[in-house]
Point group: C2
Chain length 348, copies 2
């Protein structure tokens, strides 16, 4: 197995943090009054290892894949919607296109496992590992090779992006089922604890979703080797593996990642379980309305920037949070200081 964690800076630099804090305290505002925005600045500079770090550009990567588990009727939408929504994204009609276009963010769809052959497109990275994962009710979702390959796809994107930071989102009918199974397996929880409504599963669809996840957990707990990667391979998905890899790729370049919703957070859980030091590179864009998301964030000390009751995926919450992160960095670099603006400070 490749070691995706080689070369990731893990040291903390108290002097750097002090220097950032001193600069923040010299801006024309009461000490600490920008709240979360000041924490964002400190984390961003700390990730980059540079007290003058700035954002030149930011990007959303939407990792897309199909899921064999959809054969069990766990979703409200037919499996074909994964392909249809990728096409919608390439045509610019999805929520994530609107949110990124109006915020001057880049947006790229990464086909890591959709059951359709897309033509070349400037908004698409064709990195297909397989035409969807296997049905994990009856076996592993991925072979070891597929899982490694998908992690590698994400790693390369994260390591090679030209953006200063990026958000990770996903498109894949069935993937809240995979995220719930993966979270339950890694955290030793039941399906009832980790399963939500996804795109809108209620009543009998929701009950079936829980039963399927419980049955899959029973199957895989017996054979699981206890490692995060084996959990990912068994009950995860190709886009979840790629998102996990993208976190390591970004961290290898000291770039932060903005994690979107429940499924992206399941990828973050996998990454953090593999290598806890990667936590410092992660921003959590929002807490979604998906049932277990808030608790999952707590498990990995994730503090969401936004709480807007969204449950759309696609990187939509990450895109909105990137707006806040960029404004925090704008304040840091563009505000006047007490001395430059000749404003009396509290100690004057």
């Amino acid at each position: 197995m490749l070691d995706f964690t080689t070369g990731i800076a893990t040291e903390t630099n108290p002097e750097l943090i002090q220097s950032v804090k001193a600069k923040l305290d010299d801006l024309t505002k009461p000490t600490g009054s920008l709240g979360t925005l000041e924490n964002i600045v400190m984390q961003y500079c700390s990730c980059c290892g540079d007290a003058n770090a700035s954002i030149s550009s930011a990007h959303i990567y939407v990792f897309a894949a199909d899921h064999g588990i959809t054969a069990e009727g766990v979703s409200l939408y037919p499996k074909e919607v994964t392909t249809q929504m990728v096409i919608n994204m390439l045509e610019g009609g999805a929520a994530i296109n609107v949110l990124t276009r109006n915020a001057a963010l880049g947006c790229t769809v990464v086909d890591v496992g959709v059951d359709f052959d897309f033509e070349e497109h400037p908004g698409l990275l064709r990195r297909k590992v397989a035409r969807g994962s296997g049905n994990f009710l009856h076996g592993a979702a991925m072979t070891n090779e597929q899982c490694m390959k998908a992690i590698e796809v994400g790693y390369e994107i994260g390591a090679q992006t030209e953006s200063s930071l990026f958000g990770i989102g996903e498109m894949g009918i069935g993937n809240t089922t995979a995220a719930a199974a993966l979270s339950a397996l890694l955290l030793g929880r039941t399906a009832e604890e980790t399963t939500g409504m996804g795109t809108g599963a209620v009543g009998s669809v929701y009950e079936r979703k829980c039963r399927v996840i419980d049955a899959a957990l029973e199957l895989h707990r017996k054979e699981w080797d206890g490692s995060p990667v084996d959990a990912l391979r068994r009950v995860g998905g190709l886009e979840i593996a790629a998102m996990t890899g993208s976190i390591f790729g970004a961290a290898s370049q000291r770039k932060p990642v903005v994690v979107d919703g429940y499924i992206a957070t399941a990828a973050a859980l996998t990454a953090v379980t593999m290598f806890p030091s990667v936590k410092k590179y992660l921003f959590y864009g929002h807490v979604s309305n998906e049932f277990f998301h808030r608790a999952l964030l707590s498990e990995i000390d994730g503090e969401p920037i936004l709480d807007l009751g969204m449950r759309l995926g696609e990187g939509s919450g990450a895109a909105l949070a990137l707006g806040i992160i960029m404004q925090a960095m704008n304040c840091y670099h563009q505000m006047a200081t007490f001395s430059s603006a000749r404003v009396s400070n509290k100690d004057d």
Copy 2:
């Protein structure tokens, strides 16, 4: 007394709401999955009385005034900082300048009562009613004429703005003391309940602030005629009165207002107490870190869009929330529909 509430549309239109909801449900996303963004769209269209309402431009008005109560040592910063910060804003160095500039929002400072004669400036509206309010520990903060004039200043700005909607913020050393006193008087609370640290008052400064407010409340409760305007006049401030007026001015034109932090919310409390139907025109940008703000929002059924632990004022939280509101409206107008994008809906 002028009636600032004449001509404000108060009817609700269930057909319009149905029409907006139908359009939202036809966009390529699971039903309701944009969460708060969908509520924002419904409220915005409802305010405007137009299911196709859109945002052509948005603005922040920063209402600035001095406060006689600063003579009691209730603030960490000297009174001169009001003037200095207005100059900083006109020079583009304050947080609100950075936040508006980078989000293509307009920003105008309204001098409604600063103790300094500013020269003409494109970013300034000179609408001075007085050179600061009186010290409300010893008498009313404003005469009746001053209070009415300040409300009128705000009303005209709200009614005449060319923006589709605007946010209201403030600058005024001492104004968390006025906001806490006003909230306490209107809601029948004590100083301990409504007083927070403002720009950073802790220890003896905080204790003095509470004592001053309690003493002022004792004085004014005896003579208060029970009306919101008389409360505003007695313990409010010129910029708080102007923000109150701006809400009525905006509502008269069916334009929504984005309320910023604690002081702007005290103005909203005054407006809502005067005329409860004005509630539908109000968005609450954020819940600040100021002690009583969350409870004050609850009193007027205000649901904050953001919760970022900020306590800066200037309209900074409103500016960030305007970004979210604009993105909500962008989604509403720019996303593809299930039929246009040939995406299978859940009922297909």
